[in-house]
């Protein structure tokens, strides 16, 4: 068992204080950097796509997992990012400039949505974000002169700083670059007072207010940051899809993002990444299922959304902390072996809110 002695306050704001964590993260980054050496192009492209979804997941995680605001409309920001970027670069705007403009634009739309949603809670927020998604999807379809409508829009080739990135590995490294930046930025956010005000709003708006947190402004900021990151994922996604059409960014896609963060584990960056891995493995398992199940069930059209919904429900009921929670338990088990007892994770007595003496 490793006991961590902290020697200065720096230790608490430093990432990866434990050696074990450093080694693990180092290994993962090394493996990702070396991926083009040991993965075939098909799988490398899939891995790149996984990284893009990890970015989108972190975006939604900041809003839902850390600020407690549900959004069933986040696919809209993927769409806004993808379309805005494709339109900009097809008008000759360089990639680097377009990334910045698109992210900023997405953030602005996010803040506008956040502003109108900042006084809504739970169910109403879910409906409002869903309505926003439908609005964006319709707009992308109807605004034919700009978006090419339902016929679709071709995404121009990927050229970064005048360099065409044609090979799969080149695009993969671009995705990896942005994932690392986003993970870093998100981790940064939650060691500052801005990030803590997000957590405060999630857990108790009442006391957040009484401690000086401007709750409405926090929600607007959170929507903004979240939309910016998801918009960035949209930029990268465009280059994986090559061809955009409005229905790609539909409710099912939103549900997929939600599934990612719920199953991965709400309230952790690692959870979003676990969720992305799961989402990438899901199509494989579904196609496997289709073969195994009797054709009457396997060929049903709604199988995929049904499974998404089912998995979300199962996780909420049986493992509310998601895969991340499982991982923490496993790690705890190994670190404290052989001292870990089952009761280590039994929840402590929780107190009724009204429990008090007269």
């Amino acid at each position: 068992m490793q006991v961590l002695f902290k020697t200065c306050y720096e230790d608490d704001i430093r990432f990866l204080a434990k050696t074990g964590e450093k080694v693990r993260v180092g290994l993962v980054i090394a493996a990702l950097l070396a991926a083009p050496l040991w993965l075939q192009n098909y799988y490398l492209a899939e891995l790149g796509l996984l990284l893009v979804y990890a970015i989108a997941g972190i975006g939604l995680m900041i809003l839902t997992g850390y600020t407690g605001q549900v959004s069933f409309g986040h696919a809209a920001f993927l769409g806004i990012g993808a379309y805005c970027h494709s339109i900009l670069i097809s008008h000759g705007v360089p990639f680097s400039v377009s990334v910045i403009l698109t992210t900023a634009f997405s953030a602005a739309i996010g803040m506008a949505l956040g502003r109108s949603a900042s006084r809504m809670h739970g169910f109403y927020l879910a409906i409002a974000t869903l309505a926003f998604l439908i609005l964006v999807e319709t707009l992308l379809g109807e605004w034919t002169s700009m978006t090419g409508g339902y016929a679709g829009l071709k995404v121009p080739a990927l050229v970064v700083f005048g360099m065409p990135l044609k090979a799969v590995w080149q695009q993969y490294y671009l995705d990896l670059f942005f994932v690392l930046i986003v993970v870093m930025a998100a981790a940064n956010l939650f060691r500052t007072s801005t990030g803590r005000s997000f957590l405060a709003v999630r857990d108790s708006e009442l006391s957040a207010r009484s401690l000086g947190v401007n709750v409405e402004w926090v929600k607007i900021q959170s929507f903004g940051v979240s939309a910016a990151i998801t918009g960035l994922a949209g930029v990268l996604l465009a280059h994986h899809l090559h061809y955009l059409s409005p229905e790609v960014f539909n409710v099912l896609e939103s549900l997929k993002l939600m599934l990612m963060i719920v199953v991965g584990g709400l309230g952790s960056i690692l959870g979003a990444i676990f969720g992305a891995i799961l989402i990438s493995l899901l199509p494989i398992s579904i196609s496997f299922l289709k073969d195994v199940l009797p054709p009457g069930i396997g060929q049903q059209a709604g199988l995929e959304p049904l499974l998404f919904g089912l998995i979300i429900v199962l996780f909420i009921v049986f493992e509310p902390l998601g895969i991340y929670g499982r991982w923490m338990k496993l790690r705890y088990f190994f670190e404290t072996f052989p001292y870990c007892r089952k009761s280590s994770f039994v929840r402590q007595k929780s107190y009724l809110r009204t429990e008090r003496l007269r």
Binding site: Y9, E10, D12, I13, A185, A186, N188, L189, R191, T192, S193, T194, G195, R196, S197, L199, A200, R202, D203, S204, L206, S207, A208, R209, S210, L211, G212, V213, N214, V215, Q221, G224, V225, G267, R347, Q348, K349, S350, Y351, R353, T354, E355, R356, L357, R358
Partner: protein
Amino acid sequence: MSAAAMLSVRNLSIMFGGVHAVEDVSFDVNPGEVFAIIGPNGAGKSTIFNLISRLYEPCSGTIHYGDHDLLELPAHKIVRTGIARTFQNIELFEQATVLQNLLVGRHRHMSANPLTALAFLPSVRKSELEHRRKVEDVIDLLDIAQYRDERIADLPYGARKNVELARALCAEPTLLLLDEPASGLSSEESDDVGFWLEDIKHDLGVTLVMVEHDMNLVGSIADRVMAINDGRLIAIGTPDEIRDNQEVQQAYLGVSA
């Protein structure tokens, strides 16, 4: 008296669906004193706190704190005037650690900018460390070092009470509103709270307003007591005066006056 008063409440009233929860209540709190509010359940004590912290909008009346007209400020600006509070039902950030909770207490003193936060600029790092030091002082004062990295959800009840008090202190208030600081605590824990409150008053120079049912605690630390019943003020006086007051006794015994 009113000229020197720190907090001055005048003719405060609020109704909930036709019921006067607080009706025409006026009182002053002087700098440096411990002012207790007592009254039977449902008397309107917590409602007065919620009015001062601007969580409720009064029907009429005024609340002044120093030079500030509190009714002109939104809830999140109240702490900037120097008023911090705790809640009767403990409102902590359940899924965050004790340290994170206390650091949110520092929010009023920190600048929060999402862009510099995402980049974690050196200035942000510097300010984080600085505020961390202040938080550690409070952790030492209330002796909660062993809980520092625990999640609130894993803490026992007594510890939560302490953490909530600590979080309010992190805001460096000049006036502290405590809603039943000793409720649900064992008698030893409640004695500890009494000592801490004395320390907070003497060493930090914080003025205290507290709602409390425990008359021993009230008697030992309060300078003045206000008794209310059914939203109306019954009497203000020293703890002994209030204890001997006929109307107060009747209110507690449920006999209609």
